[in-house]
């Protein structure tokens, strides 16, 4: 009973709720992972349209890892965190997508434009741009060890 009492909802303790998850490199697993965005988003009462935006950002990050990273472990590692910057600040949902793949230099990735997409014949190349547009903050670190995308959206 004492134990139960200490488990009230809220952000007491570590100040965070963190759920980590590992998915295989396989089709549709990115959609299976989005269920966790919905669950964590609902946990902080995030509006559904914002949850949808985080879902799509996660989908894009996962399919990049599936398609480009050539991961050594055939897995993608996800971490979901809800928290606040300050006591009375807004809740956020943060998603980390980590692959142990070949890495890339995101500073030299060409930025897509609608014009190039339509007249130029290069239709792909929008994943990172979509992630940046839909999330409030995005940090990409990459190297020989792989790639980590850390993205956050406030409620």
């Amino acid at each position: 009973m004492a134990q139960r009492e200490s488990l009230r909802p809220g952000f007491e303790g570590s100040g965070f709720r963190e759920v980590s998850m590992t998915i295989p490199v396989a089709s549709d697993m990115e959609i299976v992972a989005t269920a966790q965005v919905a669950a964590m988003g609902e946990y902080i009462d995030m509006p559904h349209d914002k949850i949808d935006e985080i879902k799509l950002a996660l989908v894009e990050a996962c399919i990049n890892a599936f398609e480009h990273a050539h991961t050594r472990d055939d897995r993608v590692h996800l971490t979901f965190r809800v928290g606040r910057d300050e006591e009375d600040g807004p809740d956020f949902l943060e998603v980390e997508v980590l692959d142990q793949g070949k890495g890339f230099d995101h500073s030299i990735v060409e930025v897509p434009t609608p014009e190039k997409t339509f007249t130029g014949g290069k239709k792909r190349g929008w994943g990172l741009q979509i992630i940046r547009s839909l999330m409030d903050s995005v940090a990409i670190t990459s190297g020989e060890w792989g790639t980590r995308i850390l993205m956050r959206k406030y409620k």
Binding site: I31, D49, L56, I63, T117, W126, I130
Partner: protein, 118 residues
């Protein structure tokens, strides 16, 4: 697998209406393209894509929809979308699809608009 997108097509005169249900990824996009080209070959002038039951279209799916749009424009046809979620609408605008294809809130409005172009 239940994640894959289901597509129902109905032909009304020279307009073909597509209802999608589920996630539009590369496979879903390619299936829409296949059926869209079949409709164009069978004389359809306008395509209306009702995405009411789709909550996620990934960037690969959208890039395939852009190829469909270009093919429709080559043939002087019309492509219209309707019933997009706010997130899909936003993504279509980011990628510029909204500059070349018309987006309507409801199927009725989409059908009226494409009829007016006929």
């Amino acid at each position: 697998m239940s994640e894959s997108c289901k597509i129902v097509v109905e032909r009304r005169g020279d307009v073909a209406i597509f209802w999608t249900d589920g996630y539009i990824n590369n496979q879903g996009g390619e299936e829409i393209a296949r059926q869209a080209y079949a409709q164009l070959d069978a004389g359809a002038r306008a395509l209306v894509l009702n995405l009411e039951k789709t909550r996620i279209v990934n960037s690969i799916g959208i890039s395939i929809l852009i190829e469909v749009l270009e093919k429709v424009m080559d043939r002087k046809g019309v492509l219209a979308f309707c019933n997009l979620t706010p997130t899909i609408d936003k993504t279509f605008r980011i990628m510029g699809l909204a500059q070349y294809a018309a987006i309507y809130p409801s199927q009725e409005q989409a059908l009226q608009a494409v009829a007016a172009t006929g």
